[in-house]
C-alpha cells in the first residue's frame, strides 16, 4: 500500500513538474476560445446585437454545463499581476 502511495505521489509529482504547465495553458487557451463562442451564441440574450441565428440557438443546450464557469470567469475580479510569467 505504501509502495502504491509512493508510486502515485511520484507520478503526480512528475506530471506537475513536466506537464501541468502545458496542461493548464492549453486549458486556458481552450477556455478563451470557448468563451468567444459562448458570447456569440449567448450575446443576444445578454443584450448584444449579434443577430443570433436559429442554428446558434440549437447550440444553446451544449452551453448549459458551461454557463456557471463562464459566468464566474467573466465576473470575477481581475488584476494584471495574475498574468505574471511563472519562472523568473
Amino acid at each position: 500500500m505504501r509502495w502504491e502511495e509512493f508510486k502515485r505521489a511520484a507520478k503526480e509529482f512528475l506530471f506537475g513538474l513536466f506537464y501541468f504547465d502545458l496542461y493548464w495553458e492549453t486549458r486556458k487557451e481552450a477556455a478563451k476560445l470557448r468563451d468567444a463562442v459562448n458570447l456569440l451564441i449567448m450575446g443576444e440574450l445578454l443584450g448584444l446585437p449579434l443577430m443570433t441565428t436559429p442554428i446558434m440557438l440549437r447550440l444553446l443546450p451544449y452551453l448549459l454545463p458551461e454557463i456557471e464557469g463562464w459566468k464566474q470567469r467573466q465576473l470575477r475580479e481581475r488584476d494584471i499581476t495574475e498574468e505574471v510569467p511563472e519562472t523568473v
Binding site: R8, A9, A10, E12, F13, L14, F15, G16, L17, F18, Y19, F20, D21, L22, E25, T26, R27, K28, E29, A31, E68, G69, W70, Q72, R73, R76, E77, D79, I80, T81, E82, E83, V84, P85, E86, T87, V88
Partner: protein, 577 residues
C-alpha cells in the same frame, strides 16, 4: 577518507538538507498549526470558485512539482556566482539562513494569503491594505522591474551565445523542436508521451549537433558580437510576444523543461556524490568583506543570491496561480515551503558547482565558471572525459534555455502589462507591436553597458524588495488576524533594509560615473564612445533612483498599515471566512 569527505561539497549539501528538514518539519509546521491554523475542513478558493480553468483543485504532489518548476530558474544558479566572490562560506550561510527563515515564509504565507482572501492576487491584496495609490505604485515598480529583468536575461543569452560556440545552433534546434511539438500536439492531436520522447530525442540531437559543429566561433561578429546577438534574440522574442501562445511559447517552454529540469537534477546528484567522484573544494571559504567591482558584503551578498534564498517574484506566482488551485489548506506547507526549500537545495548545489572550479574564473567574473563547474561535477558519472565536450554544450544550452524561455514570457508579459497600463491614455504605447518593440529596445540599450554584475544586483535588489513588500503584506494580514506576526515582520524588516541599501549602493556606483568622479561602466565597443557610455550610466542612475523612490513609498505605506493594525487603529478581524 574522512578528510576527503570534508574536502568535498557534499558535506555542505547534506548539512543544508538537514537545515531545510528542520525548517520544514519544525518551524514551518509550527507556523502552519499555530499561526495560520490550517484546517482540511476550510473551503479553499479552488472549490469555492471552481470554474475548471483558473480555479480547480489539484493534488499536492502535482502542485509541488509545478511550483518547483515555476520558481526554479536562473536565479539560484547564477546568483551564487556573484556571491562566491566573497568566498563560498558567506554564500552558503546566506542560502541556508535565507531559506530557513525567510524564503519559505514568503512563498508559503503568500499562498495562504490568497487562500484566505478568496483567491485574490497581489494587486488586490495590496489594494485592500494600502489603497488604490499603493496598487498603482506597485504596478509602476513592476514596470521598471520588468525592464531590469529583461536587460539581465537579454544580455545573458547574448553573452552565452557569444562565449559558448555551438549553443546558438542547439538553441535554434530546441526552438524548431518546440514548433514541431506545437504542431503535433495542437494540430494533429498526437499522443503526449510519444511527443515527449520525440522532444527529448530532438533536444539531445540539437545539443549533439551544437557540440559537433560549434558554430559560430567566439566573437563571430567582432567587437559588436554581444550587441548583434541581442538583436537576433530580440527578433525571436518579438515573434514569441506577438504570435498566439500555442504556436510558439507554450510548446517551446514544454520542450525546454526537460533539459532544464534534467540539468538541475544532474547538478544536485553530482554535488551529493562528490566524495565518490573525487571533486574537491578549491575555492577559498572566505575571500574578504569587499570585492572590487562588486561591492561590500553587506548588502550585496543578500541581493546577489535572490531566488536561491528568497525571491519576491515567487510571491506573485504564489498569489496568482498556486493559491487558486490548492485543494486543502494543509497542502500549503508541502507546496509552498516544500518547493522553496527544494529550490534552496538547488542553489546549494549550484554553489557546489562554483566550489570546485578554479578561483581565477570567479575572480575574472567569467560566467563560464558555472558551465565548467557543472561539467566537472557531472562528467565523472556520465562518461568521464569523453563526455566533457557534450556536457559543456549541454550546460551552456541549459543556461540559455532557462534565460530564453523566461525572457519570452517576460517580453510577452510586458506587452500585456503595457496594454493594461496605457488603457485610456497614451493608448498607442499599449499597442501590441509598439509595446513589444519598446519592451525589447529599452533592455537592449541597458544591456549595452556590458556590466552584467551591476545589472544583476539591480535585478536582485528590486526582486528582493518585492519580497520585503510581500512579507510586510503578510505581516499586515497576520496581525489583522490577531496572530503573532513577528515570523514575517522580522524577515520583512531585514529585507527592506538590505534591499534599499543595495539599491542605494548601485545608485552610488552609477552616480560616481554620472558625475564624472569615475569612468563610466562600459565594455568594448562602448568604451570607444564615452558620451554614449556616460549617457547609459546616467540612465541607470535615474532608473535606480526611480526604483528606490517607488520602493521607499511602498515600504512606508505597507509598514504604516502594519503598525496601524498593531496599534488597533484598523479593526482587527479574522481574514478567513
Amino acid at each position: 577518507m574522512q578528510v576527503a569527505f570534508l574536502e568535498t561539497p557534499s558535506l555542505w549539501i547534506i548539512g543544508a538538507l538537514v537545515a531545510y528538514g528542520f525548517a520544514y518539519y519544525v518551524y514551518a509546521k509550527w507556523v502552519d498549526e499555530h499561526i495560520w491554523e490550517v484546517s482540511e475542513k476550510k473551503v479553499t478558493p479552488a472549490h469555492m470558485y471552481l470554474d475548471g480553468v483558473e480555479y480547480f483543485p489539484v493534488s499536492r504532489y502535482v502542485l509541488y512539482g509545478f511550483q518547483f518548476k515555476s520558481i526554479a530558474a536562473l536565479g539560484p544558479i547564477l546568483g551564487p556566482f556573484i556571491a562566491v566572490a566573497y568566498g563560498w562560506l558567506p554564500a552558503l550561510i546566506w542560502i541556508v539562513i535565507g531559506n530557513m527563515f525567510i524564503g519559505w515564509v514568503q512563498d508559503y504565507s503568500t499562498i495562504m494569503l490568497t487562500v484566505r482572501n478568496e483567491g485574490r492576487s497581489m494587486g488586490p491584496l495590496v489594494y485592500n491594505a494600502i489603497g488604490e495609490r499603493g496598487r498603482k505604485i506597485l504596478l509602476a515598480y513592476l514596470l521598471f522591474y520588468l525592464l531590469i529583468i529583461s536587460a539581465v536575461f537579454i544580455y545573458l543569452v547574448s553573452l552565452f551565445w557569444n562565449v559558448f560556440p555551438g549553443s546558438f545552433i542547439a538553441t535554434i534546434g530546441i526552438i524548431i523542436t518546440g514548433l514541431i511539438v506545437g504542431e503535433l500536439l495542437y494540430k494533429y492531436k498526437a499522443n503526449i508521451f510519444g511527443v515527449t520522447a520525440l522532444a527529448i530525442i530532438l533536444t539531445l540531437i540539437s545539443v549533439g549537433v551544437g557540440t559537433a559543429v560549434a558554430w559560430p566561433p567566439k566573437d563571430f561578429f567582432g567587437p559588436w558580437s554581444i550587441q548583434v546577438w541581442s538583436i537576433i534574440l530580440a527578433i525571436i522574442l518579438f515573434v514569441g510576444a506577438i504570435v498566439p501562445l500555442p504556436k510558439f511559447i507554450t510548446p517551446m517552454n514544454f520542450v525546454a523543461v526537460f533539459p532544464a529540469i534534467g540539468g538541475v537534477l544532474l547538478i544536485i546528484f553530482g554535488a551529493l556524490i562528490s566524495p565518490a567522484t573525487g571533486m574537491k573544494l578549491i575555492q577559498p571559504a572566505f575571500k574578504g568583506w569587499y570585492v572590487q567591482n562588486v561591492g561590500p558584503i553587506f548588502p550585496i551578498l543578500f541581493v546577489s543570491i535572490a531566488c536561491g534564498a528568497i525571491s519576491g517574484w515567487h510571491s506573485l506566482v504564489s498569489t496568482s496561480t498556486t493559491g487558486k488551485q490548492l485543494d486543502v489548506e494543509t497542502d500549503a506547507r508541502p507546496v509552498g515551503a516544500g518547493a522553496m526549500l527544494t529550490e534552496g537545495l538547488l542553489a546549494t548545489s549550484a554553489l557546489a558547482a562554483y566550489m570546485v572550479v578554479s578561483p581565477d574564473l570567479i575572480a575574472k567574473g567569467k560566467i563560464s565558471a558555472f558551465v565548467n563547474g557543472a561539467t566537472l561535477l557531472t562528467a565523472p558519472f556520465l562518461g568521464g572525459d569523453a563526455s566533457k565536450a557534450y556536457l559543456l554544450t549541454f550546460f551552456s544550452i541549459f543556461l540559455v534555455i532557462y534565460a530564453i524561455t523566461v525572457q519570452a514570457l517576460v517580453t510577452r508579459y510586458w506587452r500585456v502589462f503595457s496594454a493594461e497600463l496605457f488603457r485610456g491614455s497614451w493608448e498607442w504605447l499599449g499597442n501590441k507591436y509598439v509595446a513589444t518593440v519598446i519592451g525589447l529596445i529599452l533592455p537592449i540599450i541597458f544591456a549595452l553597458t556590458g556590466s552584467w554584475i551591476n545589472l544583476w544586483i539591480y535585478f536582485g535588489g528590486s526582486n528582493q524588495l518585492l519580497a520585503a513588500m510581500a512579507l510586510t503584506l503578510v505581516a499586515f494580514y497576520v496581525a489583522k488576524m490577531n496572530k503573532p506576526s513577528w515570523y514575517s515582520a522580522v524577515p520583512a524588516a531585514f529585507m527592506t533594509i538590505v534591499t534599499l541599501s543595495a539599491l542605494l549602493w548601485e545608485i552610488y556606483t552609477f552616480g560616481l560615473s554620472t558625475f564624472g568622479i569615475k569612468k563610466p561602466l562600459a565594455k568594448p565597443p562602448l568604451t570607444q564612445y564615452p558620451g554614449a557610455a556616460w549617457a547609459l550610466n546616467a540612465l541607470f542612475f535615474v532608473i535606480g533612483i526611480v526604483l528606490f523612490v517607488l520602493g521607499i513609498y511602498m515600504s512606508y505605506a505597507l509598514w504604516s498599515a502594519y503598525f496601524k493594525v498593531r496599534k488597533g487603529e484598523v479593526e482587527a478581524k479574522a481574514v478567513s471566512p
